[in-house]
């Protein structure tokens, strides 16, 4: 199990030695910062007007936290495939996988080391955005509970994206192909929930529940449901399972 840590550290080294992480971090913070600003600005404008005309029935959760986390989840969907594309594809292209597989390492240690390495980078991305809830708390208007559940959802959903991207990157040595496939298929799992609107109840329920975004919406509303946590965890485990099988099918045929 110490091998996981060794692989993880090397992954982080490579991420931070290249401009990838800095670029993605920059874009992520730029976009989510803009969304935060515009949501807060809109909220304050509306609450002034509401105070004048209707009386204050506006909550921070509904007007700032929910849309902000929703926007951030889209940015995460766009950016994470760019982090996961290199995980195995680059090793394959450079021929390093041949050497890695000759070392006394189990496939599962390799996969988990890479998964956790990428997850650490993602956690760092989210960490920097914690300034938004703190800023709101400092201004005296915060709903830390909803933020907490929202961030938990964002983290779980992102980790599911990473597990899926890890699997896709074992299939090709071309990083662009890996990124395009990961993004495309994740987007498909995302919008499949829309099919629920055009189908009848037993089937629409299925579409709703396999969609990645449905489960995330509960978190942004401040609801932590074990069913949603279970959904993302099984998605992660399934992704890692597929990764191991892809490695075995390609190299360890026996």
């Amino acid at each position: 199990m110490r091998n996981i840590w060794v692989i993880l550290k090397r992954e982080l080294y490579s991420y931070f030695a290249s401009p990838i992480v800095y670029t993605i971090l920059f874009i992520f913070l730029l976009l989510s910062g803009y969304f935060f600003y515009s949501n807060v600005a809109y909220f304050s404008l509306m609450s002034i007007q509401a105070g004048q005309w209707m009386g204050g029935d506006f909550t921070l959760g509904e007007w700032v936290i929910e849309p902000l986390l929703g926007n951030m989840s889209v940015v995460v969907l766009l950016l994470l495939p760019l982090l996961t594309m290199r995980l195995f594809a680059e090793e394959k292209r450079q021929g390093n996988l041949e050497l890695l597989l000759s070392y006394p390492v189990r496939d599962i240690e390799l996969a988990l080391g890479k998964f956790l390495g990428c997850m650490s980078v993602y956690a760092l991305m989210l960490f920097f955005t914690l300034v938004y809830p703190l800023l709101l708390a400092w201004l005296g208007r915060s709903d830390l509970g909803t933020f907490f559940s929202g961030y938990l959802g964002l983290f779980l959903m992102g980790s599911a994206f990473i597990a899926f991207g890890l699997f896709i990157s074992t299939l090709t040595e071309n990083q662009v192909v890996a990124a395009a496939l990961t993004f495309g298929l994740l987007l498909f799992f995302w919008i499949i929930g829309w099919a629920a609107y055009i189908t009848e109840p037993p089937i629409s329920k299925i579409f709703e529940n396999i969609s990645l975004i449905t489960h995330f919406r509960h978190f942004t509303k401040g609801i932590i449901d074990t069913a949603d946590i279970f959904f993302y965890l099984s998605f992660i485990i399934f992704g890692i399972f597929l990764t191991l099988n892809a490695l075995r099918a390609q190299y360890r045929r026996d």
């Binding site: 692989i7 450079q94 021929g95 050497l99 597989l101 190299y251």
Partner: protein, 308 residues
């Protein structure tokens, strides 16, 4: 130390290895020869556990690689053909990573990294990024990564390719110095390298072993005798061809002398018979010397035999 028994491998419908068997004793350096595409790299990859053979078994240090992959891999040092490295890492960082993943940790890690850095002459570039190194240095980093766990078995796939003569010499010296302590398989198609470094040779062609011996025997078997004599040409060649052990005679006139190359069955010693016969016939024998074919000639002969 290494036991390869009847391994076969197919890639789709194409069979790349047919019943390959050989063994390497502890401390031996085996030269693994063959033209491009003969199956050298495939065999080495099977030895490292990269993929399993479709038939046959591989044992290293008594352990079957299919059953105890981790135990076997602990004993291995592998230098793959294209020498993949992580260009964004420093030499020191990379070697430490490899040491740790091979289970060399703590104090032992620093000690082993220091040792291989010294052995492979990497002191000056130790803290440089690998992508900034010259080809020769990269090659040495590749060798250092194979050696860092002090492996019992070293598998080297064309380690001197693309180097300048001085670097080639240095790498060969390094490999030679390992003889006796480590079991080495050196895959190459540079033949002088094999004569200089190896104690045993396996020649493989189209996925089949065509020769297996030490370099001396391999070259001696294909020997012949060269003679310089003063004699009438027709009578002399007729006499030589009449000797039952002789298989082939080439003769040519050189001023007033005859130079003859006599190929014979290697299991017989025909030199005493020859000298006696020539002198008794009243001819003058000026030179008689046993000749060996070079490994190159043997190799080309073996590898082209079936094709012709």
């Amino acid at each position: 130390m290494i036991e390869v028994r009847n391994i076969s491998k197919w890639f789709g419908a194409r069979q790349v290895l047919r019943d390959v068997s050989f063994e390497v004793e502890k401390g031996e350096i085996l030269g693994f020869l063959g033209p491009n595409g003969a199956g050298k790299t495939t065999s080495l990859r099977i030895l490292t556990g990269y993929f399993p053979p479709d038939k046959g078994t591989v044992k290293i240090g008594g352990y079957n690689i299919a059953q105890n992959p981790l135990t076997v891999k602990q004993k291995l040092g592998y230098f793959p053909e294209h020498n993949p490295l992580y260009p964004e890492m420093t030499v020191d960082g990379y070697l430490r990573f490899v040491a740790r993943i091979k289970g060399v940790r703590g104090k032992e890690e620093t000690k082993r990294v220091n040792t291989v850095v010294a052995e492979c002459g990497l002191e000056n570039v130790r803290h440089r990024l690998i992508k900034r190194l010259s080809k020769g240095y990269k090659q040495r980093v590749g060798l250092a990564q194979a050696l860092v766990n002090d492996p019992e078995v070293l598998l080297l796939d064309e380690p001197t390719i693309g180097l300048d003569p001085k670097q080639i010499y240095e790498i060969r010296q390094l490999i030679k110095a390992l003889a006796g302590q480590k079991t080495v398989i050196l895959s190459t198609h540079i033949l002088p390298e094999v004569s200089m470094v190896c104690t045993k040779v396996v020649i493989i062609k189209d996925g089949q072993v065509v020769a297996k011996d030490n370099p001396e025997n391999l070259t001696a078997q294909k020997g012949y005798v060269e003679i310089l004599a003063r004699a009438p040409k027709e009578e002399f060649t007729a006499y030589l061809k009449n000797i039952p052990e002789v298989k082939e005679v080439e003769a040519k006139m050189e001023d007033n002398f005859i130079r003859a190359y006599i190929h014979f069955d290697p299991q017989y010693e025909i030199r005493p018979k020859l000298t006696q016969g020539i002198v008794q016939s009243g001819w003058e024998l000026l030179e008689l010397r046993p000749r060996r074919k070079s490994l190159e000639e043997v190799f080309v002969q073996l590898v082209t035999k079936e094709a012709s």
